[in-house]
Subunit: 126 residues, 2 copies
DNA sequence: ATCATATTCAACCATATGGTTGAATATGAT
DNA sequence: ATCATATTCAACCATATGGTTGAATATGAT
C-alpha cells in the first residue's frame, strides 16, 4: 500500500518542480556523479548547484557517498515511486480522455468516404 | 511522443507540490466542484483557496466553467499524464530496486529452515 | 430597487526560494 | 609543510509563495 504522507509528497513534488533538479536526476539516471560533475552543465555557481543537490537529497531522491574530498551522488528512485503512485489514482482520467479521443477519430474516419490520399501540399490554390 | 517542455513540467510539478492543491484535485476526481465547495474543507480564507485554484488552473490541471456567479471547476487530467510520462523514464529504477529486494527476501526465506509459524504476539516474554 | 451570495482584487505580510560572492573546511598531491 | 582541489558555509539579495483582511464586482433572489 505504501503510505504516502502529504508532507513527503510536498517535498518530492517540490524537488521535481525545478528544471535544474530534474536535469540532475536525468544525469544520475545515466550513472553516478560527483557534485562537481552534476553542477558542470549549469550556468550557475557551484554553491547554487550544491543547494539544488541538497534539495534532492532532502527529498530522498539521491544518496551521497562522501569519498575523501569528493561527494559521489547516486539516484534513489523510491520517492519517485511514491509520486508515481499518487499520480496512478488519476491514470483512469487521462486514459478515458484518450479513449474518447480515439473513438472520435474512428468515427471521423468512418464518416469520411475514403479520401484517396491527401493532395500534396501546395498543389491546390488557397 | 508528447513533447514535454521543462517550463510546463515546472508549473505542473510545482502545482502538485502542495497538499492543499493535491487534495483539491482529489476532490475533483470525485466530481465537479464550485470554488466555494473546493475551498470548504480547508482552514483558510476563500481568497487563499481561490489562489490555489488559480495555480491549478494555470498549470492546466483544472478547467473552470463560469455559470452565473458560481465557477464550476473540473479535473483536466492531461498535464498529469505529462508528469507521469516524465516519471516513467525512472520506472525501471524502482522496479529494479523492488526486484532486488524480493530476491533478497527469497534467499533469506530459503536459508531459514521452515520456521513453523511465528508465535502469536505476546505469548513469548520480551 | 434592494439585499444576499459567490468570487475576485488589492494591499499587505512573513517566510521560502534560487541565486550571488567571498571565506572556510577538508582532503589529496608534492 | 605547502599548494591545489572539492565542497560547503555564511551573509546577502530579489522575487515568489502562501497566507491575511477589507473592498469591489457580478449575479441571483425578492
Amino acid at each position: 500500500m505504501v503510505e504516502y504522507d502529504s508532507q513527503t509528497l510536498d517535498t518530492i513534488f517540490h524537488a521535481l518542480g525545478d528544471a535544474t533538479r530534474r536535469a540532475m536526476l536525468g544525469d544520475l539516471a545515466v550513472g553516478d556523479r560527483t557534485v562537481g560533475e552534476l553542477a558542470e552543465p549549469f550556468a550557475m555557481s557551484l554553491a547554487a548547484a550544491s543547494k539544488h543537490i541538497k534539495v534532492l537529497e532532502a527529498a530522498g531522491l539521491i544518496r551521497r557517498d562522501v569519498r575523501g574530498r569528493t561527494h559521489v551522488c547516486s539516484l534513489e528512485p523510491m520517492p519517485l515511486m511514491s509520486a508515481d503512485q499518487w499520480l496512478g489514482v488519476y491514470r483512469r482520467f487521462w486514459t478515458n480522455r484518450l479513449d474518447t479521443l480515439e473513438q472520435l477519430l474512428r468515427a471521423d474516419d468512418a464518416a469520411t468516404p475514403h479520401p484517396p490520399k491527401p493532395p500534396l501540399p501546395g498543389t491546390e490554390g488557397e
